[in-house]
């Protein structure tokens, strides 16, 4: 379902859930899984919850992780200074409070006093400073260095961390949510942190690593001394079950208590099982699909790699406007995704805090209107073959576009077929071809050797990353897929990057989304929804009421208890 070319990072979500655990009334053996029904009082604790998922972490070293599964484990085993809850709000974690100086250049974080690593060592500001510098200074770590790269870090006393920047930054909180705090006394001995497998994985989170076999399972035990309050269960097992049908069978047979992803076709089967609850919601890190146009201006064609063979008519906003009127997003969702999506509109997905511009109004699906736009703009079908001709001043024959999609996507072929059919009705032809992601990259950017591509992005808690791909300066780097370049947009981007007042920053980010919808370098067909399912007869208290759905998140695993 999800576009695989960017492995989306899981968004950090920790609520310092301080539920008191009381005394353990039952401690069933781990092999049996949950406690037997009937006898446990509603405050029962204990039990090991077994979760079936399709993948497995690629590394226990937080610097090395690329896969979502790895980040799920980091969230449970490590603490970060600031958390992001399932409703998209930044919440205190290791940092009880934080503030910025009046000039916007100095951030001060006050740490909790009772945090300890799993080996009993107290967690102090020295560990925070060490960790931030570790992630900042090792460029071979793929993702983490881009978060703390602007900071100089000081630790004036054991519970205070001071970060200074050269320019004000608008996304301080989001830069802290992946900053996993590792123990300095262990990691300072490591010569090459990138080659370090971190097999002991000593963190300070609510769960600690008990056993790990790559590609098979991860077993965590509850940290009974967790500073934020111990979980109610004894532990959690993440078992890799690669085949989706086998995962469904495992849930039905009671081999696992929860599955993190499942085939859409299995939903109705599971819903009919009285012991199983199916939950549908927005994923933690929403995938984003996009249909984008090659509109790179000739004068900005990358000198080194550029081919810039895009169809000239696509540079005409009226053509893109007509195409936008000829995409029925709801039908795409219903047919290609079996209903598991919400119509998209902005490059910033819904649920990214308040940054998604909810006031945007999409172009309606209206083929007559689309035809009219093309007629008015002077694109007429003069030779009667059903395809409109280019205008005389354009160096092209007719509106026939190359339309590519990643061949590793399950749903893209169907989507592209549907979109092509609508476009055909307004006199626009397509030549459709699926390409493997590497080949797609090589025609896409920064070569710009394509006309239209259906692809996608993963997402990040901060809108800055996705909005950045539409900057003029990213045309040469290859992150701009479209070649879109608008100085007005770039100026707003710079402005939001240094704006420390969240409300002002939100307004700028909203304005940027309006510009993108007006200029249409992208059509965003939909945002993914995710499906998870759990057994009602083994554990209760799964967190299903938040904006985001992630039952494998600490917010659920810290509070669930055996079903009584």
């Amino acid at each position: 379902m999800r576009s695989r070319w960017v492995k989306p990072l899981a968004v950090l979500v920790v609520v310092a859930a301080c539920t008191s655990t009381g005394t353990t009334t039952s401690g069933p053996g781990t092999t049996g899984g949950a406690t037997g029904p009937g006898t446990s009082p509603p405050t029962a604790t204990g039990g090991t919850v077994r979760i079936g998922w399709g993948g497995s972490p690629d590394s226990l070293n937080p610097g090395n992780g690329l896969l979502t599964e790895a980040y799920t484990i980091y969230e449970l085993v490590y603490d970060t200074p600031i958390g992001l809850d399932l409703d998209g709000n930044y919440v205190p974690e290791l940092a009880e409070e934080w503030s910025v100086s009046d000039d916007g250049l100095t951030w001060t974080m006050k740490l909790v006093e009772n945090a300890r690593f799993h080996d009993g060592t107290p967690l102090t500001s020295e560990d925070v400073k060490f960790s931030l510098e570790l992630w900042r200074d090792n460029e071979d770590f793929p993702f983490l260095p881009s978060y703390p790269d602007v900071f100089t870090i000081e630790a004036p006393d054991p519970t205070t961390v001071v970060l200074t920047t050269e320019e004000p930054i608008g996304n301080f909180e989001s830069r802290m949510v992946f900053m996993y705090i590792v123990p300095k006394h262990i990691w300072e001995e490591i010569d090459d942190p990138v080659a370090y497998d971190n097999a002991d994985m000593i963190g300070s989170g609510s769960f600690e690593l008990a056993e790990y076999r790559q590609g098979e399972f991860v077993r965590l035990e509850a940290n009974k001394d967790y500073w934020g309050g111990a979980p109610n269960i004894d532990g959690v097992i993440f078992q890799t079950i690669e085949n989706p049908d086998a995962r469904v069978a495992a849930l039905r047979a009671g081999d696992v208590d929860m599955i993190t992803e499942m085939p859409n076709t299995a939903i109705s089967t599971l819903q009919s099982d009285p012991n199983i609850e199916v939950v549908i919601g927005e994923p933690l890190a929403p995938g984003l699909s996009d249909i984008f146009f090659n509109i790179v201006p000739d004068e900005l064609c990358p000198a080194e790699d550029g081919v810039c063979s895009g169809h000239p008519a696509l540079k005409d906003l009226q053509v893109r406007l007509a195409l936008a009127h000829a995409v029925d997003k709801q039908q795409l969702i219903d047919v290609a995704l079996l209903g598991l999506g919400t119509p998209g509109i902005s490059l910033v997905p819904t649920g990214l805090g308040g940054y998604f511009n909810s006031s945007l109004v999409d172009y309606p699906f209206d083929l007559d209107e689309a035809r009219q736009i093309l007629e008015d703009a002077g694109y007429l079908d003069t030779d009667g073959d059903g395809i409109r001709e280019c205008k005389p001043d354009q160096s092209c024959d007719d509106l026939t576009f190359r339309f590519n999609y990643p061949s590793d996507s399950d749903t893209a072929p169907r989507e592209v077929e549907m979109v092509s059919a609508w476009w055909k009705e307004i006199g626009v032809a397509t030549v459709v071809q699926g390409l493997d992601p590497d080949t797609l990259t090589s025609v896409c950017c920064p070569t710009f050797d394509y006309d239209v591509i259906r692809w996608g992005w993963g997402s990040d808690p901060d809108p800055g990353f996705l909005l950045g791909v539409a900057l003029c300066s990213e045309i040469d780097s290859g992150f701009s897929e479209t070649g879109y370049c608008n100085p007005e947009y770039d100026a707003l981007y710079d402005q939001q990057a240094t704006e420390t007042d969240p409300e002002t920053r939100r307004e700028i980010v909203w304005q940027m989304q309006e510009i993108l919808l007006r200029d249409l370098p992208y059509i965003i067909p939909y945002y993914d929804l995710t499906v998870q399912a759990y057994r009602k007869d083994t554990f209760t208290g799964w967190r299903t009421d938040a904006t985001k759905l992630a039952l494998e998140d600490p917010t659920s695993l810290n509070v669930i208890r055996p079903a009584g």
Binding site: W5, T30, P142, F143, R247, T441, F479
Partner: protein, 336 residues
């Protein structure tokens, strides 16, 4: 060992060694003509800075010349010779995708798991397949033969993953067998037998699936091979001499019918290390097949090179063994 025999053996071993070397070189070049940047496994993300990509390429030595260093200096300072040198030391390098894992250790763990699954299945299916194939051939045209033929044809032609998923559903629903993995995670065993039983329970369904698929193939080949031999003149002669049936089959038919079977078994055993990809996926068995498939997706050259090397060596070894056994089974081969 006669001189002819010795020359035959030396020739075969030398040829096998040459084949392995060619495969190593071919593997190396094959992965380097693929498009895409292995340093980041085809990953595109705005957070991935140019500096990071360059640092990773430097770490993996991807900036060095591929085959021969023509840029001046030592011509052997290239990725290819670095790879050969490391190989001689038994070092298969570090995985690109699992940056903190050595390839040799990844492959080693997966190989052990694969052998656990494939060897028992092979042994069961060889013993049963040869026996049933022999019986079917001897009783050809009867109802026994017909039943055996239908059974083996179905098993051989069923898609492996389909048979696997059907057995998984039935086994977990009716017999309460585990659906995935090779042990009960986090189990506390009371003793050796407890643990052995747990592994056997996990092993049962995948082994059964693989054994059934292989059984069909062995039965069919064995049956047709024996049927062919049984129609030879010397069998008729043996019958005419009044030899007992058992003796005809054991001494005259079996050994001659074994020639194609030995080839098949040895080739199958050679491919053992590639793992039973489909079965490993259905039952989430952490073997070599799954590791290889994931490595392809992530452009994990070192793991792929290692896996292909392992596969090549074992196929070549298996072929070598077949040729040596042939020399013993069929004297005509080594005289030729």
């Amino acid at each position: 060992m006669s001189r002819g025999r010795r020359r035959y053996v030396i020739q075969k071993v030398a040829f096998a060694a040459l084949t392995v070397f060619v495969v190593i070189t071919f593997n190396f070049l094959l992965f380097r003509v693929l498009p895409g940047d292995p340093a980041v496994g085809g990953l595109r993300d705005p957070r991935l800075s140019r500096e990071t990509v360059e640092a990773l390429q430097e770490r993996f030595g991807l900036n060095d010349p591929v085959f021969i260093n023509l840029e001046g200096g030592n011509p052997f300072e290239s990725q290819y010779f670095a790879y050969l040198g490391a190989l001689i030391r038994g070092d298969l390098g570090f995985s690109f995708a699992f940056r903190d894992q050595a390839v040799a250790s990844l492959l080693g763990k997966a190989l052990v798991n694969t052998l656990w699954l494939v060897l028992p299945a092979q042994i069961i299916s060889i013993v049963l397949g040869l026996g049933l194939g022999l019986v079917a051939a001897y009783k050809r045209g009867t109802r026994v033969d017909f039943a055996a033929l239908v059974f083996s044809l179905i098993m051989w032609s069923l898609p492996t993953f389909f048979l696997g998923i059907v057995l998984l559903f039935l086994g977990s629903a009716w017999l309460g067998l585990p659906t995935a993995g090779k042990i009960t995670i986090g189990a506390i065993y009371t003793g050796f037998w407890d643990q052995a039983l747990d592994i056997l329970r996990h092993l049962f369904l995948p082994t059964l699936t693989l054994a059934l698929v292989l059984l069909g193939e062995y039965m069919l080949i064995m049956r047709s091979s024996v049927v062919e031999v049984l129609s030879e003149d010397y069998i008729l002669t043996a019958k005419a001499e009044g030899l007992p049936t058992g003796q005809i089959i054991r001494r005259h038919a079996f050994r001659n019918a074994m020639l194609p079977i030995v080839t098949l078994i040895a080739l199958n055993l050679g491919f053992t290390v590639s793992g039973a990809i489909q079965i490993e996926t259905v039952f989430s068995w952490p073997g070599l097949g799954g590791l290889t498939v994931r490595a392809v997706g992530q452009r994990d050259f070192p793991v792929l090179q290692g896996a292909f090397l392992l596969l090549a060596v074992s196929v070549v070894l298996a072929n070598l063994i077949v040729e040596l056994i042939y020399g013993w089974l069929d004297p005509r081969v080594r005289e030729a």
